[in-house]
C-alpha cells in the first residue's frame, strides 16, 4: 500500500516536473524565435506566405463555426431570457459571451488543431528529411528562415480570425433572434451597444487572442523543431501540439480573465 502511494506520488512529481520543464523549454524557444525574427520583417513575403497557410486556409472553418456558435447562443439565450421577459437582451448575451470568451477561446482552439498541427507536421517533416540540416549547411538559419515566419504568420492570423469569428457569431445571433424569432432589431443593437465596452470587452478579447496566438504558434513551432526525426516522432509531435496548445489556451484564458476582471489599473 505504502509502495503504491509512494509510486503514485512520485508519478505526480515527475509529471509536474516534466510539464514545468516543457513550459520552460517553450519559453526559451520563444526567446530564440524573437532573436531570429529580423529576417521575417526584412522579407515580409515569407510571413505573408505563412499567413496564407495559417490564416486564409483556416477562414472557412472559423467563419462557419462562428456563425453556428452565434446562432446557438441566440437560440439558447432567447429561450432563457424570454422567461424573464427580457428577450431583447439576447443581443447583449450573444455579444458579451462571444467577445469576452467564446470568440478568442474557440477560434484559438480551432486554430491550434487546424493550423498549429499543420505547422508542427511541416517543420517536423522538414527536419526528418534533413531539409533543416541542408539549410543550415547552406548558411541559412532555419530558425530565421523556417520557424520565425511561421510563428509570426500564426501570431498575426489568430487575432484576425478571432475578430471574424466574433463578428460572424453576432451575425448568427442576429439572424436567429431578429430574423427568425422576431426580436426587435433596434432593441437588439441598442442594448448590445449600451452593454459592450470597447476597452473592456473588445480590446481585452483581442489581447486574449493575441496571447493565444503567441502561445499556439510557439508551441506548434517548438514541437515541430524538436520532433524526433521519424514518422512516429512527427505524428507524436503533432498530437502534442494540439493537446498542449489547447491546455495552454484554457489555462491562459483563466489567468487573463482573472487579471482583466481585477482591472489593469
Amino acid at each position: 500500500m505504502r509502495g503504491a502511494w509512494g509510486q503514485g506520488l512520485r508519478n505526480v512529481g515527475d509529471t509536474t516536473l516534466r510539464i514545468v520543464e516543457r513550459i520552460g523549454a517553450v519559453v526559451l524557444f520563444l526567446g530564440q524565435i524573437l532573436r531570429h525574427s529580423g529576417t521575417s520583417f526584412r522579407r515580409f513575403s515569407l510571413v505573408i506566405r505563412e499567413i496564407y497557410f495559417a490564416g486564409v486556409q483556416s477562414l472557412i472553418i472559423i467563419l462557419v463555426s462562428g456563425l453556428f456558435v452565434g446562432m446557438v447562443l441566440g437560440l439558447q439565450g432567447f429561450e432563457t431570457l424570454q422567461s424573464y421577459g427580457s428577450s431583447e437582451s439576447v443581443g447583449v448575451l450573444v455579444a458579451l459571451s462571444l467577445m469576452r470568451e467564446l470568440g478568442p477561446v474557440v477560434s484559438a482552439l480551432l486554430f491550434a488543431s487546424r493550423a498549429g498541427s499543420a505547422i508542427t507536421a511541416e517543420i517536423g517533416l522538414m527536419k526528418a528529411t534533413e531539409q533543416l540540416s541542408a539549410m543550415e549547411m547552406m548558411a541559412v538559419n532555419p530558425l530565421a528562415r523556417v520557424v520565425a515566419p511561421r510563428f509570426w504568420g500564426g501570431v498575426i492570423s489568430l487575432p484576425l480570425l478571432a475578430a471574424l469569428f466574433t463578428a460572424l457569431g453576432i451575425m448568427g445571433g442576429f439572424l436567429v433572434t431578429v430574423i427568425m424569432l422576431k426580436v426587435d432589431s433596434g432593441a437588439f443593437w441598442s442594448q448590445m451597444q449600451a452593454a459592450v465596452d470597447f476597452r473592456h470587452d473588445i480590446l481585452n478579447g483581442m489581447i486574449k487572442s493575441l496571447v493565444f496566438g503567441v502561445a499556439v504558434a510557439a508551441i506548434a513551432t517548438f514541437e515541430g523543431y524538436e520532433a524526433p526525426p521519424t514518422a512516429e516522432g512527427v505524428s507524436g509531435a503533432t498530437t502534442r501540439t494540439v493537446v498542449s496548445s489547447s491546455l495552454a489556451i484554457l489555462a491562459l484564458d483563466l489567468l487573463l480573465t482573472a487579471f482583466m476582471m481585477k482591472g489593469w489599473n
Binding site: S45, I48, R49, I51, Y52, G55, V56, L59, Y84, S86, A95, M99, S157, P159, L160, L161, A163, L164, T166, A167, L168, I170, W189, M192, Q193, A194, V196, D197, F198, R199, H200, D201, I202, M206, G263
Partner: protein
C-alpha cells in the same frame, strides 16, 4: 501557388479581419464613447448606491453619456463616493442632479443625470452636489405604510421622483 494570388488572398483576409474588428468596435462597441473622444471625470456622493458597480452606464434622458469609473466608501462622510467618466462631447450645468436608478424591474442599476439651469458647466474633477441614492425596497414599503397610516392616502409619496 503563384505569388500574386497568394498576396491577393492574404490582403483580402487581412482586410476582412479589420472590417470585422471595425464592425465590432463601432457597430457593437459604440466606440465613439469612451474611446476616441476623451472623457472628463466628475464625482458624486450618494447615501446609498444599491447594486451600482464599476462600468455601470451613466445616462441622461435615457442616452448613454458616460460610465461609472470607481465606487468607494467615503470614510469621512460615511457615504458612497462615485467617480464617473463623462463623454466630453456632453456638457452639464453645475447644478445638475444625479440619481441611482434601475432599468426595468430587475435590471441593472445606472446613474441618471438631470440637467440643471446654471450657465456654468461641470468640468473635470467637479462634484455633483444634488444626489438621490438608490431606492431600497424595504424602506420604500415602510415609508409607504407610514404615509398611508398618517393621512389615509390623500397625498402621493414624494420619494419616487426618479422612477422611469
Amino acid at each position: 501557388m503563384n505569388r500574386a494570388t497568394l498576396n491577393l488572398w492574404v490582403g483580402f483576409f487581412v482586410l476582412l479581419g479589420f472590417v470585422a474588428f471595425l464592425m465590432l468596435a463601432f457597430k457593437v462597441g459604440n466606440l465613439s464613447l469612451d474611446g476616441s473622444g476623451g472623457t472628463y471625470e466628475v464625482v458624486a456622493h450618494f447615501d446609498n448606491i444599491g447594486q451600482l458597480k464599476e462600468r455601470a452606464p451613466v445616462r441622461s434622458a435615457g442616452v448613454l453619456v458616460g460610465r461609472v469609473h470607481s465606487v468607494r466608501f467615503d470614510t469621512l462622510h460615511y457615504n458612497a463616493e462615485v467617480q464617473m467618466a463623462l463623454d466630453s462631447q456632453y456638457h452639464f450645468p453645475v447644478d445638475s442632479s444625479a440619481s441611482v436608478l434601475t432599468s426595468g424591474i430587475l435590471g441593472e442599476q445606472y446613474v441618471g443625470l438631470d440637467a440643471g439651469g446654471d450657465d456654468k458647466m461641470l468640468k473635470n474633477g467637479d462634484e455633483i452636489k444634488l444626489t438621490q441614492g438608490a431606492m431600497v425596497l424595504e424602506r420604500l414599503i415602510g415609508q409607504f405604510l407610514f404615509n398611508k397610516a398618517q393621512d389615509g392616502g390623500a397625498d402621493k409619496t414624494s420619494t419616487d421622483k426618479g422612477a422611469p
